[in-house]
């Protein structure tokens, strides 16, 4: 059996070249592959294109969390439906990088999902109903099909996907937990190389075939999150403590319905 297990996050990202296109989930603290992001920051890879569901400011200390935003100084392009948190001033924290030349491509979250699917399925493009009549039309081909307008959207085919998983067997068969799932299965399918950081590695046969979400063929590299890694309950506790110091983000992430 091919060994997909890497001993460290640094080894798992060691071959990522400058200019790589990387899809990485970020849905608040829990559903983020913090350790792979941190390793890529340590490596210093440049001219990255980051595809992510949610690009919010690095409001946590890096000792406890690493969101995609820590890669900002290494980025050439950002592709995301959520840039910033509106109440904190949307996009504000990326403006400095945009002025220095970073490109930002925004789109609806469902368009992101559909474009990743298109990448995985080898499609040349899709006609998407989202964004018609909005500023997202700019530079897009518009086409009327059966009386309705659509925008042409290109497929997304990342070079790498960084995935935060729950449990994986040694063949790479992967399950998530709760909202950890989200964009990650389609990112894993669309990417050329999928790297998973995971809470548990189990033996082949320990995951019921009916319950596999991402079949092992889509998983190329596996790294176990160590007890002192990011994304563990202890680090999470520290993050919560930090959040209680930041009123608006705290309200956003949990707390009273406003």
């Amino acid at each position: 059996m091919i060994n997909k297990i890497f001993a460290s996050f640094d080894e798992a990202v060691a071959d990522i070249p400058d200019g790589a296109v990387i899809a990485v989930e970020c849905w608040g603290y829990p559903a983020t592959p913090h350790n792979l992001i941190a390793a890529l920051k340590r490596k210093g890879t440049k001219d990255l294109t980051i595809i992510t569901h949610c690009f919010i400011p690095q409001v946590f200390s890096e000792e406890h969390a690493a969101l995609p935003a820590v890669l900002l100084p290494q980025m050439k392009k950002l592709i995301s439906p959520i840039v910033g948190i509106m109440r904190l001033g949307a996009g504000g924290f990326v403006k400095e990088y945009v002025e220095k030349g970073m490109e930002v491509e925004i789109m609806g979250h469902g368009t992101l999902a559909a474009r990743l699917y298109a990448g995985a399925a080898g499609l040349g493009g899709i006609y998407d109903p989202i964004g018609v009549g909005t500023i997202l039309e700019e530079g897009k081909e518009k086409r009327v099909i059966k009386g309705k307008e659509y925008l042409f959207q290109e497929p997304l085919k990342p070079d790498y996907a960084f995935i935060a998983g729950h449990k994986v067997d040694k063949l790479g068969n992967l399950v998530y937990r709760g909202n950890y799932r989200s964009d990650q299965p389609v990112m894993a399918m669309a990417a050329k190389v999928t790297i998973v950081e995971v809470e548990q590695i189990v033996e082949v046969g320990d995951i019921d075939p009916e319950h596999v979400i991402t079949p092992g063929i889509f998983v190329d590299r596996i790294v176990l999150i160590p007890p002192d890694g990011l994304g563990t309950p202890e680090k999470g506790r520290a993050v919560i403590d930090q959040l209680t110091q930041i009123e608006s983000v705290r309200d956003l992430l949990f707390g009273k319905a406003d």
Binding site: Y29, G110, P129, I130, I135, L253, A257
Partner: protein
Amino acid sequence: MKQRLDRDTMGMRAAKELKDGDCVNLGFGIPTLCALYVPDGVRFETEAGLLGYGRLVMADEIDQADWHYIDASGRFCTPAPGMAIFDVVTSFAMIRSGRLISIMGGFQVSERGDLANWNTGGDALGGTIGGAMDLAVGSRMVIITMEHTTKEGKPRIVKKCTYPLTAKESVDLIVTDLAVIEVTPGGLLLKEVAPGWTADEIQGLTEAELIISPDLKEVEL
């Protein structure tokens, strides 16, 4: 007596549109409050991959929270019996195939039902889209809850949106702190007014022209 409805009451009024069996995606802000007032059998969806989750985790419960469940606003929520978990491909098929009801906040709604609720800046960095465009275009019914006027007293219900659009001709119903207005093919139909307010007064705070319903009544909860 000429009070405006408070946010809870607006949430309550919007929730009244829902019935047993409906699945609803609740956006930031006032829509979140609807959750407290929905009838039995309504389930909540988050585009990040849950249908039928339970209630939100409150700040004082955070120590016991299971961090694996997050609602559409990024808040921790609880699992519930009958919940389903799925990826975004399934999630946006759900949203775009017209099986969901969406209740969202709004900055502006036009007389044709155009919606602006993602961007106040004018360029792509002026806002965050998330699932809003998909929800506006794809949902079976789109209900917008918002204050009738801006803090400066300017109308939010306008002839033509000045903020960047979320989607064209997508809103079905507007619930404000002053009125309930249905978007019909003929125009905006004023159906309910807040207690003590007249149709003329509402029109005075609305840029778009309102059609007064022959059945005009006070907001019903």
